[in-house]
């Protein structure tokens, strides 16, 4: 039977996927960038600074989604003790941190021409900074706690506590008065973003997701090799 949790089987799959993503990535990136920078129209109010949104919004989504994944995997690992899940969370965390930071920095660059300030301690921005801190502590625990089973336990607690922050980020713009505008893309109902701008946004999101998948696979592969290497010594 093909066992999905068997590292040997996963390893082969990872190599196939990495090669596949590598083959299509740059073509897609080029298409997405040309739509984001050239073919999409400027906004009626913001002008060309709206283009910053094409990196800011996907980065923020990825930052949030990664943390949700980490939390869910931590919960499943806690319930069913599946070792691979903790390897996965460890591989996802740096990606989430990088994209959360990108979202914060590009948002700040966008804030200057739009709001008139680089920084505001409003609820959305503060909760994003807290998310970055959760990522940092998750990674720091894995780095500095030398006993692995202990590191997994403590970092799982961080991930589960941090899960509470995710809906706070999502709804911060609705619950409190913030400088940050409410979400333009709604899961239900019509989006308040024109299709000529939605298209490059989704394209860019897709490209960045592919990039994340690539990094994740590489990191996961590194983790598997690390484990195998450890087992080798035991032989």
């Amino acid at each position: 039977m093909f066992n999905l949790f068997n590292n040997s089987n996963i390893f082969g799959l990872i190599e196939v996927l990495i090669n596949f993503i590598n083959s299509i990535f740059f073509a897609l990136l080029l298409v997405a960038l040309s739509f984001a920078l050239i073919f999409s129209p400027p906004d009626y109010l913001q002008g060309d600074s709206v283009r910053i949104m094409y990196v800011h919004v996907p980065a923020a989504w990825i930052g949030l989604a990664s943390f949700t994944c980490i939390s869910i995997l931590s919960i499943l690992n806690f319930l069913f003790k599946i070792k691979n899940f903790s390897l996965m969370t460890k591989s996802i965390a740096p990606i989430g941190l990088v994209f959360t930071c990108i979202a914060i920095v590009t948002g700040s660059i966008w804030g200057q021409p739009t709001w008139g300030t680089f920084w505001a301690w409003d609820a959305r921005i503060t909760s994003m900074v807290i998310l970055a801190i959760f990522y940092l502590s998750f990674i720091a625990i894995h780095k500095f706690v030398s006993e692995e089973s202990k590191a997994i336990k403590i970092s799982s607690i961080v991930a589960i506590v941090g899960l509470v922050n995710v809906p706070i980020i999502k709804y911060s713009v609705e619950w409190w008065s913030t400088l940050h505008q409410p979400a333009s893309i709604k899961i239900t109902g019509t989006s308040s973003i024109h299709s000529s701008m939605l298209m490059p946004l989704l394209l860019m999101f897709f490209v960045l997701i592919l990039y994340c998948a690539l990094i994740f696979l590489m990191k996961y592969k590194t983790e598997i090799i690390r484990i195998k290497k450890k087992n080798l010594k035991r032989l």
Binding site: D48, I225, L232
Partner: protein, 77 residues
Amino acid sequence: MIYNFIQMNGYGIFVWSSFIITFLVCGIFYYKTRKSLKKYEKEFAKEIEALSIEQKKTVLENSKVASKVLSSFNKSI
């Protein structure tokens, strides 16, 4: 036209700096991930090579991962 494209009606510096920061960070992050992957692959392959012939045989028979890493490492040399 190119001037306009770079200028972006005065927003150029903001737009370009965000895109450059994003893709620069992504590039560096990719490079670092790749580097540590290669490092582990190399160390792992070396450790297998250092084993005695019998041990090596059992490892390669039992672990697909080990044989894959070893063969790709030998190819790259």
